[in-house]
Structure formats: C-alpha cells, structure tokens
Amino acid sequence: MKIHRDEFDRLALEHLDMLYRVGRRLTQDAARAEDLVQETYLRAFRARDDFELQEWGIRPWLVRIMHNVHFSRSQREKRQPVVVDDAHLDRVAGNKSAAWVPLDPTSFEGMDQRLAKAIEELPVEYQTVLLLWAIEEFSYKEIADAVGVPIGTVMSRLHRARARLCEKLHEYARKEGLIRE
C-alpha cells in the first residue's frame, strides 16, 4: 500500500528518537549520529515512492536506510585519511582511567553506568541488534530486515551480546561484592 507524502512525513518523524538511538550506537558519536539521522530522512524522503507500508510498518525500512548510509560512509572514510581531534587522543592516552566508572554503592546507578559501558564495548553490530530488540521492541524478523541479515544471524548476535554482557557484569558484580560465588 502506497502512502501519501504528508502521511509519510508523519510516520517517519514519529521514529526520530529511535533512529537517533540507533545512530548513536552505530557512530558512537552524538554529532555524527545527528548527521546520519538527517541523511537517513532525506534518503527516505527521496525514496518514498519505493516504500510499501507492510505489516511491520516503516521502522525496519528506516533503520535499513540508516544502516546502509552508515556503512557506505564508513567504507568511504576508510579510504580517506582521518582527522583525529585532541579530545579523542586524550581519551586514547588515558583509556584506562576513562574506562573506569565511579560507583555509588548505595544504588544500582553504578550498575547501569557499568552496563552502558559494557554495551559500548560490544561490537557495533551487537549493539544495534540489542538496542532494536530491547528498547525498540523489534521482532527478529524486523531486525533481520532492518540490518539486512538472516533471522538466524540476529538470534546468534543477540545470544552473543547477552553472553558478553553477562560476562562483563558478572565480573564487575563479583569484584564489587554484589554477588558471591
């Protein structure tokens, strides 16, 4: 079913937050994520005649466009020299201290920060699948369609992402005495 232009805009803009979150995971950078989201919308708008509103809606289609734009850009950037800013160099130089998140033992805030850190350490592909599954409530089929991989790959990525998170958080919880072995 084809949709009207205004309807398309409305539907697409409803998912801006979701696209921004996926963009953040893919780029690991707020400014680049914003550029990616904007480019995704422009591409989607120009290609809207090709869009068919199917049972699972517009979300996987938008994520797929974002995914393609991001990987095309990454390929292009790999072929060009990269300018590294001072902040990034500082982060690299002081990697160990930056990796450590101070804990507040009176709450689980520390655990959430630790979780955020553990997620960031996962490969981008795992982060994306995890985010789409846990926060955006995509089905396996939707995730597979969005990131262009078979459903089996989605399942294995989800499984591995979860296993790695458990491993990292378990180690942390043991160190902090939150669990006993």
Partner: protein
C-alpha cells in the same frame, strides 16, 4: 513460509537496557533541522515542471545513456585504431629503403659506369602486366601493382631481396622522384609482428616515404623519394590506396589489368 522463531525474552535485561539507553532522545535542534530539510525537499519537488521524470526512472535512464555513450566511444576508438595507419618494424623499413636506394637513377648510372649489372634487368621492363605475371609465378603470392599514370614512367621490375625475403619490385620515375612498389610475404615483417588483412602502414624513414597494406598473406608497399621533396608522403599513400582499391575491385570479379587508373594527387 517458515514461522518466525520463538522470541527470546529476558525482562530483566530489557529493563536494564531501557533504563540505560532508552532515555536517549533526539535533540530539539536536530528535530527542527530535519523538519526544515524535509520542507526544503517538498519545495524542490513542487518547483519541478509537471512533465518532470520521476527520480527513480531518471537514474536507470542516465545509466543506460552512459552505457550507450561508452559503447559508442569504445566502438569509435576501435574503428579509428583499426583504420589508423601503423608503422612497419624498423628493420623491415630499412631493408626496403636500402633496396629502393639501389633503384635510384644515380645508383643505376654508377652501376653502369662500374659495369655492374642493372638489377632491374631481370624482368622485361616493357610490359608491366607481363612482369607482374612472371613475378607472381615466381613468388607464389599476389603481386599487386598498377600503372600510376600521371607522368610516372615504368622503369622495370625485378625479383629483389628485402631483408632476406624475396620480393617483387616495380620501379617508376617522374622527374627527380622515384617509387618502388613491393609485394612480399608478410613473413618478412618477422614472426613477432602480427598481421591481418586490411592493416595499413604509413611512415617516413629519412628521405623515404613508405606506405603499404596487407592482403592475402602478402604485404604490398610503395616506397617513394625525391631529391627536391616533390613527392610527399601524402602522394605515396594515395598511390598505395589506388593499388588497394584495384585489388578489391579484382577480388569482386574485375580485372586487375583492365581497370582504369585515376592519377594520384600531385604535390601542391
């Protein structure tokens, strides 16, 4: 259709992830920027004329047009490259030049003075057609030569040696200009030099202009020179083209001997 696999669920992990990452929202500035960008896209679309081809059709058309232009370009390059005159190998050119030099009037006069036999005397100079038939029988490959007319005088023909290959040679003179017309096996060009019917050559070696073509396993060359520069390469090439055309006429059932022979252009 395969049913979708059962969804794995982990409410605790989901809840933790939502707490951690779910709060991220797009900045207002981004929201505004995208809304403006989409409005600008709408405006651009509306400005396009009614008969405007939709974008999705335009791209394949551009691709097809580009492919057609590329194919046409390649075809033209191939055609020009094929039709362009090549150069014969230097050793072959020098051998023809050396044999031709011996045909010049001065050399012939010097030979006579020193009692050296005239190399052109081995085939009767009185009858071009008879000389061609005799040499063809001797060599076993086509011998292509015509009377150039236009003031050229047939001086004689001989079975000559061009770089170790036997060749038919016909000599014509006009004023200070001399042309030698050779027919010899393409083997004379060397085994590394690939030849094909229809290939043409044009080049200048010192004072000698060389212009030839390949046909029926033989290479046919006109080598011309003049002491005052009255015979340019253009005229030598024109003469080569006349011989080539005559050979084509002959292959279509015409007679090589009986064909009319238009005069090559004179140097201005």
């Amino acid at each position: 259709m395969n049913p979708e696999p059962t969804q794995f669920d982990d409410p605790a992990l989901k809840a933790a992830l939502r707490r951690t990452l779910g709060g991220e929202t797009a900045p207002q500035a981004l929201r505004k920027r995208i809304a403006q960008a989409l409005l600008a896209e709408h405006a651009t679309e509306q400005q396009q004329p009614p008969g405007h081809t939709p974008r999705r059709w335009r791209l394949p058309l551009i691709g097809l047009a580009a492919a057609a232009v590329l194919l046409l370009g390649l075809g033209l390059v191939y055609t020009f490259a094929w039709n362009a005159d090549r150069s014969v190998p230097p050793y072959f050119a020098m051998a023809m030049v050396e044999t031709s030099r011996r045909s010049l009037g001065e050399d012939r006069a010097r030979n006579a003075e020193h009692g050296i036999a005239d190399p052109l005397a081995n085939v009767p100079a009185t009858d071009l057609a008879a000389a061609r038939a005799k040499l063809r029988a001797e060599l076993g490959h086509p011998v292509l030569v015509i009377d150039p007319g236009d003031g050229w005088t047939f001086q004689g023909a001989s079975l000559s040696d061009v770089g170790g290959t036997r060749a038919a040679r016909f000599v014509f003179t006009r004023g200070d200009a001399t042309i030698c017309v050779y027919s010899l096996s393409t083997g004379a060009l060397g085994y590394r030099y690939k030849t094909k019917d229809g290939m043409t050559y044009s080049q200048t070696e010192g004072q000698y202009h060389i212009s030839g073509f390949v046909r029926d396993g033989a290479v046919h060359c006109v080598v011309g020179s003049s002491s005052t520069g009255s015979l340019p390469l253009r005229q030598v090439t024109a003469l080569r083209n006349l011989i080539r055309k005559a050979a084509e006429t002959m292959s279509m059932g015409g007679s090589f001997e009986s064909r009319g022979c238009p005069a090559p252009p004179r140097a201005s």
